[in-house]
């Protein structure tokens, strides 16, 4: 009998609502605080920066289900529903009794899951009468997603791209420009924040923190302009739940239910997207699925960080966020999985971690690429260096199942492909990459400093 490899949903099964896990959490996250007053912030505090619809979703969503606007669903249809795939060829290579499934978000035209939130954010900006939007991008995945989403909803986008990425990842820049966005290497002379840092450090290669400051400043000083952000925030994670909601139906088509759900972890949005819809059945229906976030060993906020209030950005402009963090001044090693180089985790995931509703593992850089190459050679798709962390974690679980001789159903999120990141594979194949290790002392010192800043 022929085996089914891909489980496809028809378009009319595209989710009509996002899932807001906040409504079902046994312990709600602590509030974000205004850095000056130390009082909980409100949606109104966010209105100057974010489109109203998004600020309201961030702060005031109490319902478990939030309607997806029809215009967003129409754009989702360009690539959604995405396939759920049984990784038979990988299973065979591992000789494991485990069944491995992956949700293939790499089929989005921008190559990653980021478009799920970018389209929603562009829609709410458009709806609010906004004409111009700004954002920042590090590795470039979020910037490309916002570039296409802005074009799709008729918005003008300015992207501050970390200067070193602007130079090292020219294809990402070209993609954004092809979709009509203006891309500015950061630091730039177009903002006060940029000018200041260029003046002080003429050769500064940029950081996500600086790029955020520039994007925020431009949004605040431009009429009809709002800022957008690609991870960490609650509304971003909520938009990503279309991943897990589709996967839930598709696992049913496959006649299985996952014992383990895995996502790589940067700010948390793709992990949240694949996990939260299944996690609700742990919370509400007594299911016992394990949820594993796979973070890089060089940026181990969930496995080795602390839970406390910290800033979301390097410069300390954001509200104080209750999060697992390595300290907002933590400088992660220059690994190729640029999307995972973030010091903290969003409030929801942090609370879930604290409540033992999920787990975290760390993956070394060389192990992530080893897993990525095996996946490419068996399943065909060259994964993004970020997604390769999820694959490595899935392989570890599959090998454990083999050792224990137990059947296990593993589901991971393939958040994106690596076609625009081939330099990283080149360096790996040439033996030029290394593992970065962090001593406990390094981490403790960084956190101690943090505790002095945030009393």
């Amino acid at each position: 009998m022929e085996k089914t490899k891909k489980f496809l949903l028809p378009e009319n099964e595209l989710p009509t609502k996002w899932y807001n896990i906040m409504a079902d959490m046994p312990t709600k996250p602590m509030p974000m605080l205004h850095p000056g007053t130390r009082q909980p912030i409100t949606a109104e505090d966010l209105y100057p920066l974010f489109a109203k619809g998004l600020a309201d979703q961030e702060m005031n969503s109490t319902d478990a289900w939030i309607e997806i606007p029809e215009e967003v669903r129409e754009k989702y249809k360009i690539y959604r529903p995405t396939p759920l795939v049984r990784a038979y060829n990988l299973e065979k290579a591992l000789d494991t009794p485990a069944h491995i499934y992956f949700k293939n978000e790499s089929v989005s035209p921008v190559g990653s899951h980021k478009l799920n939130s970018a389209l929603a954010q562009a829609y709410y900006c458009k709806e609010a009468g906004v004409t111009n939007v700004t954002t920042e991008t590090g590795a470039g995945q979020w910037g490309t997603a916002m570039a296409f989403a802005s074009k799709a909803f008729g918005l003008e986008l300015a992207v501050y791209m970390v200067k070193i990425s602007y130079e090292q990842k020219p294809y990402r820049r070209s993609l954004m420009q092809t979709w009509g966005a203006q891309v500015i290497p950061s630091p730039s002379m177009s903002t006060k924040a940029g000018r200041k840092i260029i003046t002080e450090h003429p050769n500064y290669q940029g950081s996500l923190g600086t790029a955020i400051s520039e994007a925020i400043e431009l949004a605040m000083s431009t009429p009809n302009c709002k800022y957008t952000l690609g991870s960490v925030l609650n509304h971003v994670s909520m938009h990503q739940t279309v991943i897990g909601l589709e996967a839930e139906k598709q696992m049913e088509m496959a006649g299985e239910y996952p014992d383990v759900v895995i996502g790589c972890f940067g700010g948390g949005s793709n992990f949240s997207g694949i996990s939260f819809p299944f996690l609700r059945h742990n919370i509400k229906d007594g299911k016992k699925t394990r949820f594993i976030s796979a973070e890089p060993a060089s940026c181990p906020k969930l496995t080795r960080g602390v839970f406390q209030y910290d800033f979301g950005d390097e410069a300390g402009y954001t509200p104080l966020i209750p999060m697992y963090t390595l300290g907002h001044n933590f400088a992660p090693a220059n690994i190729h999985a640029g999307g995972l180089r973030y010091h903290g985790a969003g409030t929801i995931v942090s609370q879930l971690m604290k409540d033992n509703l999920m787990e975290a593992v760390d993956i070394k850089q060389l192990d992530s690429f080893k897993a990525g190459v095996l996946f490419a050679q068996t399943e065909g798709i060259v994964p993004a260096p970020e997604s390769a962390h999820a694959i490595a974690a899935a392989i570890n679980e599959a090998l454990k199942a083999k050792e224990e001789g137990t059947k296990k159903t593993i589901l991971f999120n393939l958040s994106g492909h690596g076609l625009v990141d081939m330099t990283a594979y080149d360096q790996y194949l040439a033996g030029d990459l290394v593992n970065y290790s962090l001593t406990d002392e390094d981490i403790a010192a960084n956190i101690a400093e943090l505790e002095k800043i945030i009393k």
Copy 2:
């Protein structure tokens, strides 16, 4: 009512047979000739070079339907059936009454339709007990497809990659290496043909002709080794008919039948793949669909070439092929659609063209990129520069329908995405690209020379 954008076939509707149009052609193509004896060549003549199953398909296929081996179908399931998509957003941008559909072959893990034949060729090599295979690649699409296909069937692959592409398209090289292939810049010191040309022209940047010679030489001098080719030949076009066979069922799901079918044209394989299954209904059932090949204005073999016997390669090693050609010594301008820079058309397409069963149009480079950018901005997918020629032709047909105020159903093949070709878009957006024009005198002179060679 919600509109359906993507028409998806379940895996059990994957075609079980390839369509061999040769069986239904009103006039069969003239035979290929041995360059020495000028006698028709036989399958046996091809056995030293090609796996037996492929040589037999090339020369001895009389049935209209050829079974697709189950092992090939299993690998096809990694990405097939591919979606048929209604380009609503493009239609809207053009304000046309035409309905535009495209078959999305860019979802293959190698990014193009080339994998449809690569998997079949690797399978027949494996079946014949072959352990090593060789091929050449110019722009890199075919080489990447053979790299993954070889890995999928456990073969060792050596790819001769035209030296200038090897240097200018490093991502393609990386992809091949990630899938485990050995990639050699051509000309190389590993073959007599390569050594000769390097000795005579130390700075020679390579050509497809030289790379073919090297790949053939290595295959002929290595035990258990065969050569593979990505276009032009009959068996390659036949493997590509899975595209049109799926599209036929999907157009039925959409409740329409194409008035026009369009493919870009290099050697002919993707055009054949989308066209032949529909063309059979013109031949057998009196349908009146138009079939349009879109070739670059700088390499216009079908629109401005002659029909006569010519060599398939630059050096004149292949059999003499009855084809529309600009002369095997024709040097096309250095356009970015590298996959369309070929002097001739395969025997089947040439005969169909001669019999007025299809049409050809030529597209200028700047028009192809203009179409490519509009497509990216409306439908999201950045097309390969090759595929942008088909898009430009489809847009022309849609605008004609608008002018005439007629409804028209257009189907084109999106043969691949352009994510690894962003340099080309950079140059287009910067205004650095040009149109290349060919005078009638240039073409006539080249063909006159050809007629002296091949009497």
